[in-house]
Symmetry: C2
């Protein structure tokens, strides 16, 4: 359902170009559980941003559910970004003036859910990631791993069918990391796509397919 077709992403730096993605082709089927691994700077987050409709390729195509995204209307793109996909960012990207609870409620405002339902669902997700006692803290009143968990809760709140998680356990101790991985494993067992970037081979083992990237190119894959 997600197809990258010879995708390029370049950044112009003075006289030179940085080829963040250098001809990437990838097909992801419904329900697949994928881990993306590769060196720092190899293009993983860039690829995730394109998959999550946060960025566009310079060349090549991104085809979502059979439709080229360059052909999609603004409202279809917005719907896909807000309802079909849940994104856990590598740098969390929380709103600094809002509490953990408000940050998790936010995606539901765009999908027109009532205030009472938003509160209930956001609270439930924060409990699921072990943050019930930190709901009213703002990001600067939270530890690194607590912010990461707010970002995870927020990504799951609209029940997306595709979860994109960019190094979701990087700031977590192994016990908390294991709890987060159970949540992701569970979502995949329910039929949802989980695509995670990780540097940790033990985390990658949860997937059924590992994609290796280097210098903006896919260099290999492992399937279970």
């Amino acid at each position: 359902i997600l197809v990258l077709n010879d995708v390029f992403k370049r950044y112009k730096m003075g006289e030179q170009y940085v080829n963040a993605l250098d001809g990437v082709s990838l097909e992801i089927e419904r329900g697949e559980y994928i881990a993306i691994m590769g060196p720092s700077g190899s293009g993983k987050s860039t690829m995730m941003n394109i998959l999550g409709f946060l960025d566009l390729p310079d060349n090549g195509e991104y085809i979502f559910d059979g439709q080229k995204i360059t052909g999609m209307s603004e409202s279809d793109l917005a719907f896909a970004r807000n309802r079909r996909v849940g994104f856990v960012f590598q740098t969390f990207n929380l709103l600094s003036r809002e509490t953990a609870l408000e940050n998790v409620e936010l995606p539901m405002i765009y999908s027109g859910i009532s205030k009472a339902k938003r509160y209930k669902r956001a609270k439930k997700l924060l409990e699921m990631v072990g943050l019930e006692e930190r709901m009213n803290h703002r990001p600067n009143e939270l530890s690194g791993g607590e912010r990461q968990r707010v970002a995870i809760a927020r990504a799951l709140v609209n029940e997306p069918d595709i979860v994109l998680a960019d190094e979701p356990t990087g700031n977590l101790d192994s016990k908390t990391g294991t709890e987060i991985m159970s949540i992701l494993d569970n979502l995949n067992e329910q039929g949802k796509n989980v695509i995670l970037v990780t540097h940790d081979p033990e985390i990658a083992e949860h997937s059924n397919r590992i994609v290796h990237i280097r210098d903006g190119k896919i260099i290999g894959e492992e399937k279970k």
Copy 2:
């Protein structure tokens, strides 16, 4: 040379208090290599901020090189913070409008080093962490692991005798992480203190003493 003496750190949240540090006592000798481990939210970064002069205890004392820091002059504190200690932050804390090179040069401006020498030293450190080709990128033009490496280079630029590294390899693939750990191991072999927070037991193995923290208290230690 670093002593925390029954240190407390509390945050008031409405009617309640969060006890980020709940009676912490710790003695660190010259040249020790220490790893601090514990669950997300257990107080590790809070403790590091006190050790690095970025925060003060609410109760108890921090004694640096035999001197209570509450008795230190502003200029002595500033000198210790800028020249004696190098800090790698969990969330990097780079200046977003400056390039990688400028971010690494910054601590040397405060220590009165000439422009030519600053450039040369900053460049050398960025090469050491594998970022020579990214020197002129700003933080938003860098990957997560590249930002982390800029933060590491910046922490080392004034040749501190104490390095505080809060999860320094969290965003790095294992090869790049190994390179960073060699840099830290090397600094310790030269006689410098290295104190790192990590969730990764393999990283903690580089130290010769592991301190375990939970709920703002030290609950145990392991010595090699």
